[in-house]
């Protein structure tokens, strides 16, 4: 056989092709199935113990409240699959609100503020990416540092004060709805859809998996791993800024301390969704599910009047439980 010139049209080849095809990776559900079951169990539990839990309105609520976490988590999913980590997201979200407030009060218009804050988010992401790729600083250290710097600047700019931000158009982002669907939910849906398309149907997305799976192999395959890593952090920064816009609208104020501690919730949602902390593995659907599980848990516990201290305990326990189940499944399957 002339191996360099065979065309895929050859009947013989086509025949064997069918034999080796099998199921593409995108359709593999086994990892998500256990998480879905877990989520279903949780819904059943809360439905039984709380009469207020199981209705459409409450579920829209859950989604609306979790949207800003979900948007950050979508960005973080790319970062974690690439084998990185981004702790700076929460500070970027906070400074977005601060910037919007300053620009609005300076009379430059609220939407200018929104645009500037998103540009700033991408710049922070670019700075993170540069530190990781050029200076070879570990991602945890890099983003821990930028988190602290950005948060600090947010406090400096505001003198630590929260100021209210009332603008009817801006308020729509958190409170408005389109055909009965809350706007935050739509925002989150768009972000997740984009992330899904990028991760599964674009060379960029597949390169992210390749880098997280084996960076040296990706590099020797001719993938520009520095550029792609850089872009991943830029996207995460932009997503965090967008999330900050939403959060600011929800709060109706720019607050330098907003979203404190949220980075850990975001990472928890991504990990819960089956993305590997060491990179190379993960899916955006998993992250969506992870976000919903954490949001539903919060909501259910609030409905049961459980103290917020216990909510932290429960969130940690669920994270450990779900990840432990996943590990057990993996070990059983392999």
């Amino acid at each position: 056989m002339m191996i360099g010139t065979g065309r895929p049209g050859d009947a013989a080849i086509r025949e064997t092709t069918q034999a080796v095809r099998g199921t593409p990776g995108v359709l593999k559900w086994s990892g998500t199935a256990i998480l879905l079951a877990f989520y279903a169990g949780m819904i059943i539990f809360f439905s039984v113990v709380s009469p207020y839990f199981l209705n459409v309105r409450n579920f829209l609520n859950i989604g609306t409240n979790m949207a800003y976490i979900g948007i950050m988590a979508a960005g973080s999913t790319l970062v974690l699959i690439a084998g990185g980590l981004d702790l700076s997201v929460e500070a970027v979200a906070a400074i977005s609100g601060v910037i919007i407030g300053i620009i609005y009060r300076a009379g430059l218009g609220i939407w200018t503020g929104v645009i500037v804050s998103i540009i700033l988010g991408t710049l922070v992401g670019a700075a993170n990416g540069l530190c990781v790729t050029r200076l070879k600083i570990n991602a945890f250290i890099t983003t821990l540092g930028s988190m602290s710097i950005v948060r600090g600047i947010a406090f400096v700019l505001t003198g630590g004060l929260t100021s209210s931000l009332l603008h009817p158009g801006f308020r729509f982002i958190a409170m408005g709805d389109v055909a009965g669907i809350p706007f935050p939910l739509l925002m989150m849906a768009v972000v997740f859809a984009l992330a899904f398309i990028v991760l599964n149907y674009m060379p960029f997305g597949r390169s992210i998996y390749a880098i997280g799976g084996n960076a040296e192999a990706a590099r020797l395959s001719g993938i520009n791993i520095d550029l792609i890593t850089m872009l991943v952090y830029v996207i995460s920064g932009a997503a965090a800024a967008g999330s900050g816009v939403l959060l600011t609208s929800m709060l109706g104020a720019s607050a330098p301390q907003a979203a404190t501690g949220v980075a850990l919730t975001v990472i928890a949602a991504v990990i819960l969704g089956g993305t590997s902390l060491s990179g190379g593995k993960g899916s955006i659907w998993g992250t969506l599910l992870g976000t919903l599980i954490l949001g539903t848990l919060n909501n259910g516990l609030v409905l049961l009047n459980v103290s917020s201290f216990y909510q932290d305990v429960a969130r940690g326990a669920v994270l450990l439980l779900a990840v432990a189940l996943d590990r057990l499944r993996e070990r059983g399957a392999v």
């Binding site: 092709t17 080796v20 149907y201 590099r219």
Partner: protein, 563 residues
């Protein structure tokens, strides 16, 4: 800490104390002497140090050998890797262990070092038969190994590294809590460094030393632990000539202190300089033992090669195409020494080099994966410049790296994705991947190369070594490269897949590709190439055309012999 305070004596007298003489250590082992059990009339010692009675030391004096290995046999999954191998080592003697790649040198050493257990045979140290179950046993019997990559802790000081695992302790006045005795540690480190006559500051962090200095720290560690047998597995591969000279002086010093040394190297000049005897292994068997001054280069090379035939020649038909790849004066300090060569369309050019020869660096330099100090690369007669494999890919050069698991494959990704990874940019429409086209391309190569997998979507991890290697070839074939650089094309691949891969390379060349193979497998190089270039210390030492290359001649050059 509480426990330490409660039982200070236990701690100070344990393994962590100052190096004591062997007699002292023997005295301090609590309880009855452990584990002496008779076996076939010979004493089997289960715990080296403690069990040396007067009887044994009397015997010691009679045996001239510090180490004897008899009838060592070892198989891996049914394949005999060592067959009835003998090795002896006298006190204060250097025995060089020579053999081609895969001859079994490392396996023999690992058996001695307790990393592998032998299937049969006996090991006798100081006249006493011993069993090596773990590396700890080996250390306890005074065996130390030094590899090409020093096994030191960069963050600790030289003195701490020398006394690693045996830090001296002391109890400050008035307290029962033992703490590290830094003064004692420095003193001991200075003592052994002086014995070796080297000037290394015992307080400096090992991370700031050169590779050569780290090896000397390891030797000092062995000396401090009163090692009787020192194994050096290609210690000079990463050293400069001056550092090698220094190392040899240290080795001479060790000899005079009665340490027996097993020295593995691929460099004839070193072997001649340092070895008192040379032991050659071939295909897992003894192939000759030579006393100093009683052998020539040719003797050694002939013993290493033996009579093993090179099976059917598989080089492509005589290539007549134009030069596709022209490399001129590619150089890198310490790695590549002005390497120049050309590869024509339809030609397989093989670089043969033993470990440390620089073939691995050359392979990566050809695709811009590692930096070079100078030199030019031209493709189709046009000079090209690239600083990354991504740019090399644009010019039509691709690399199949030597280690498929750590550098070649994305193990969790599917066969299909691995194959199409370098060509994703060509398989898009409007920025989106064309799934069907991707699958079609991957399945064309899976079929074309006969890659056996359950489905295109099976993760590459689950394929056999040979099939993984074919996936790596498919990656570049799917992109229609002009030049394919393949480092160790069949390392760890079964015989069937090996023949397949040779066949594939031949056909690819005959379809007009220029192929560069880098390999340390001598029969392989002779079988598949039109021309052979021999690399030694980063320099092209000789060039052979397919006809005038013999195993002896190629190997001789690769070991630093002048042709």
């Amino acid at each position: 800490m509480g426990r330490l305070a409660a039982h200070p004596s236990e701690v100070t007298h344990g393994e962590a104390s100052l190096p004591l003489s062997r007699e002292q250590q023997a005295l301090m082992v609590p309880g009855p002497s452990p584990g002496i059990s008779g076996g076939e009339g010979e004493m089997v010692v289960a715990m080296g140090v403690a069990a040396r009675g007067a009887d044994a030391s009397a015997k010691e004096k009679h045996s001239p050998y510090v180490l004897e290995m008899h009838g060592i046999t070892k198989s891996f999954s049914g394949v005999k890797v060592l067959d009835d191998v003998e090795l002896t080592l006298r006190r204060g003697e250097v025995v060089a262990l020579l053999g081609q790649n895969g001859a079994g040198k490392s396996t023999l050493i690992k058996i001695l070092n307790g990393d592998y257990t032998k299937d049969a045979g006996t090991i006798i140290i100081d006249g006493m038969r011993v069993e090596m179950e773990t590396p700890r046993d080996a250390i306890a019997r005074g065996i130390r190994a030094i590899y090409q990559e020093p096994n030191t802790v960069s963050e600790l000081s030289v003195a701490e590294n020398i006394l690693l695992g045996r830090l001296p302790l002391r109890k400050p006045r008035g307290s029962g809590v033992p703490i590290v005795d830094y003064e004692g540690m420095r003193r001991e480190a200075m003592r052994v460094l002086n014995m070796l006559d080297v000037r290394i500051d015992p307080d400096v962090e090992v991370g700031r030393l050169t590779v050569a200095e780290r090896q000397i720290v390891e030797i000092a560690r062995a000396l401090s632990a009163e090692a009787k047998i020192l194994i050096m597995d290609e210690p000079t591969a990463a050293l400069t000539d001056r550092e090698i000279k220094r190392l040899f002086e240290v080795v001479e010093g060790l000899k005079s202190k009665g340490v027996g040394i097993i020295y593995i190297s691929h460099r004839l000049e070193e072997v001649f300089r340092i070895a008192d005897r040379v032991m050659v292994l071939r295909d897992g068997r003894n192939a000759g033992i030579f006393e100093r001054n009683r052998f020539t280069h040719q003797d050694l090379v002939r013993a290493m090669v033996g009579r093993s035939l090179v099976q059917g020649h598989l080089a492509p038909a005589r290539p007549a195409g134009p030069a596709i790849l022209s490399v001129e004066n590619l150089s890198r300090r310490g790695c590549l020494d002005y390497v120049s060569f050309q590869v024509r369309a339809g030609e397989v050019v093989a670089f043969f080099g033993l470990m440390g020869s620089g073939t691995d660096y050359l392979a990566k330099a050809l695709v811009g994966a590692v930096p070079v100090d100078g030199g030019t690369i031209a493709v189709d007669g046009v000079p090209v410049h690239f600083k990354s494999p991504g740019e090399a890919k644009i010019h039509g050069i691709g690399l199949v790296p030597a280690d498929r698991k750590t550098e070649g494959l994305i193990l969790e990704m599917s066969v299909e994705e691995n194959i199409t990874l370098p060509s994703m940019d060509k398989l898009t429409r409007g920025g989106f991947l064309r799934r069907d086209e991707k699958i079609a391309v991957a399945s064309r190569w899976v079929n074309g190369l006969g890659i056996r997998c359950r489905s295109l979507f099976q993760p590459a991890r689950f394929l056999s070594g040979g099939n993984q290697q074919k996936v790596l070839l498919a990656k570049w074939l799917a992109r229609h490269m002009k030049v394919l650089v393949i480092d160790e094309p069949t390392r760890g691949v079964d015989v069937g897949a090996r023949e397949d891969i040779y066949g594939i390379l031949k056909r690819l060349a005959e379809e007009g590709m220029a192929i560069v193979v880098l390999s340390s497998d001598l029969p392989e190089v002779l079988r598949i190439s039109n021309r052979i270039l021999v690399l030694y210390k980063g320099r092209v030492m000789a060039e052979f055309s397919g006809e005038d290359a013999t195993q002896e001649r190629v190997l001789y050059c690769a070991m630093g012999g002048v042709s």
